[in-house]
């Protein structure tokens, strides 16, 4: 019973990281209608930046995270402007291949800068863990921080999209790009801001991911990235609460699958969920139905 509880907590913690990554996917997909395959690798870059700032330049962790967020924001906007913006009118095949190219570019840049050897990433969260039920259930500080960060981000984003002018522009662009442009919304700026927010969140996700799984490699971001996309689809692409729900459910499924089915098959289980969701309810748990225009 206690072990189930502890697995659940681990699942929620991992799921919260997926949720934060999934936000980046879901916002970009909702607004630019593209799968930003390189998003997972922005997470990896963010983690490397934090790692370097803390362990090589001896900065305080909070400052390191802020720097990482700034770098990732700039990176995200640059990627969008250089690689994706010229392809607004192109086929989704062309955009996706470009995004895959971008993902490989980031991985190989990281390979050249930080080398191929895995870096051990000691947690930057210097807080003690909590012991419950006479020490049978230990909740790591990382878990608490991750879940709290997830909740704060979710509330902040919901307020942002509902209350601010830019947030409303985003909703407008995601609804109908052409009409939004006619209403005087700067579509290019809106898309850039979306990438900026998504990338800043990726930096936070990178730190949280590596605090829980303390190994950092150039390919660290790709698998969590794909799983987070799965989470976004699961919850309903384009929906912010959907990303949160999908992320946490997926994290729990993955950890429980690892614990009770097979470690080898845990990824297969996660992807199995993606396939079933897409076939049974392609709009996800909280997504809207759209009609194909003929």
């Amino acid at each position: 019973m206690v072990s189930l509880l502890s697995h659940l907590l681990n699942g929620i913690s991992l799921g919260s990281v997926y949720a934060i990554i999934a936000l980046g996917y879901t916002m970009v997909y909702g607004i630019a209608k593209m799968l930003n395959f390189a998003h997972g690798d922005v997470i990896m870059i963010g983690a490397y930046i934090t790692f370097s700032a803390v362990h090589m330049w001896n900065m305080p962790p909070v400052l390191a995270v802020v720097i990482s967020m700034v770098v990732c924001t700039v990176l995200g906007v640059l990627i969008e402007g250089l690689a994706y913006k010229p392809l607004r009118q192109a086929t989704s095949l062309a955009v996706l291949i470009t995004a895959i190219g971008m993902s490989y570019l980031l991985q190989n840049i990281a390979l050249l800068v930080w080398g191929p050897n895995p870096k051990s990433f000691p947690s930057v969260i210097g807080l003690p863990s909590i012991s419950l039920l006479d020490g049978q259930l230990i909740i790591a500080a990382e878990t608490i921080v991750t879940v709290l960060a997830n909740i704060v981000i979710m509330i902040a984003l919901t307020l942002f999209t509902n209350k601010t002018k830019m947030g409303k522009s985003m909703r407008g662009v995601s609804e109908d790009k052409g009409a939004a442009q006619l209403m005087g919304i700067n579509v290019n700026l809106t898309i850039s801001v979306t990438f900026a927010i998504g990338s800043a969140l990726a930096a936070i996700a990178g730190v949280l991911l590596c605090s829980t799984y303390p190994v950092l490699m150039p390919t660290t971001g790709s698998m969590p990235g794909i799983k987070a996309f799965t989470a976004a689809v699961f919850g309903g692409i384009g929906s912010i609460p959907g990303a949160m729900l999908g992320g946490i459910l997926l994290g729990v499924i993955e950890i429980l699958g690892k614990a009770y089915v097979s470690t080898e098959l845990s990824d297969a289980i996660v992807f199995g969920v993606l396939i079933i969701v897409l076939l049974v309810k392609p709009t996800g748990l909280l997504g809207k139905k759209v009609h194909e225009k003929v």
Binding site: P86, T98, M102, I226, D267, A268, F271
Partner: protein, 355 residues
Amino acid sequence: MSRAKKNFINNLITYGMVVVAFLICQLALSGSIDGFKMSRSLKGQLVPICVYIVMAVSLNLTVGISGELSLGHAGFMSVGAFSGIIMSTWLAARFNMNNEVVRLIISLFTGGIFAGIAGVLIGIPVLRLRGDYLAIVTLAFGEIIRNVLNCLYFSIDEGRLHMSFLDPMLPGKMIYNGPAGATGVDKISTFGMGFALILFTLFVVLNLINSRSGRAIMAIRDARVAAESVGINVPKYKMMAFVISAALAGMAGALYGLNISSVTAAKFKFDTSILVLVFVVLGGIGNIRGSVIAAALLTVLPEVLRAFSDYRMLVYAIVLIVVMLASNSPFIATRIATLKSKIIRKNQTKEGNPA
């Protein structure tokens, strides 16, 4: 020139190119070209080159001709590789089959059939999806195949094949050992068979494209609703392209698996799928001859330019982005068009007008 003739000549050039390249390699191998000897490492690349050409041509059938981005092509390759290896080992153990050519041919077709079956099973759910979703699900299936292969165990005991899931305890000699993969494989692949497989692949793919079924596949790619409106059975033809592509990848996988003594499922991860996609994109999406050239050159180049190998994937990534931008961005496309017309005009003025 009529369309049919043009097609015929185009295909002839593609076949001719492959045959000439094969003959040159054979001459170089036999040492009859003075001053041109093939290095050991290049010799070792001959079969892989054939494998990647077949992989690229078959992926181009899905991506270029059928218009669906598949990111799990290496998964079919792995199914073909391991079923081919198991078939080859079983044939040797059960029937003492010593004729390696026959054994190889049977193993290649076994690989193709199993990968084709995997293609049907995966195609049923995948082909109901579109665009980005389809791509991500093919990626997911590629990973699922790898996961499942890591849980499978095969052994052979007195000519009988044993198989288990998640249980490494099997009687007799292990052929396939879960995450440790296949070891002690009888290396029976030859460059000649690789060449034959390329010709076979080109024969299937090029003839398919220039036929009623091929036109139906391309019609679905260009305008799905219109294709349906003229009575084309969309699921059938999408499945046909997907399964033929998977089966050919499986044959390439069997050739690959029987060329090295030990191979694990980790060899066929996502990176391999992307590598093949790079060949297809650089050769030109939908351009079969381009795929052949790109796959051959990009497999050889890193061997020739050793120093360049650290930057190989980096350069691939940049080239991938640049090619996509150059061929799809209206901004860059118009620049290239004006540049072209300028050059043509310059040449015309150089030649001088008679007037």
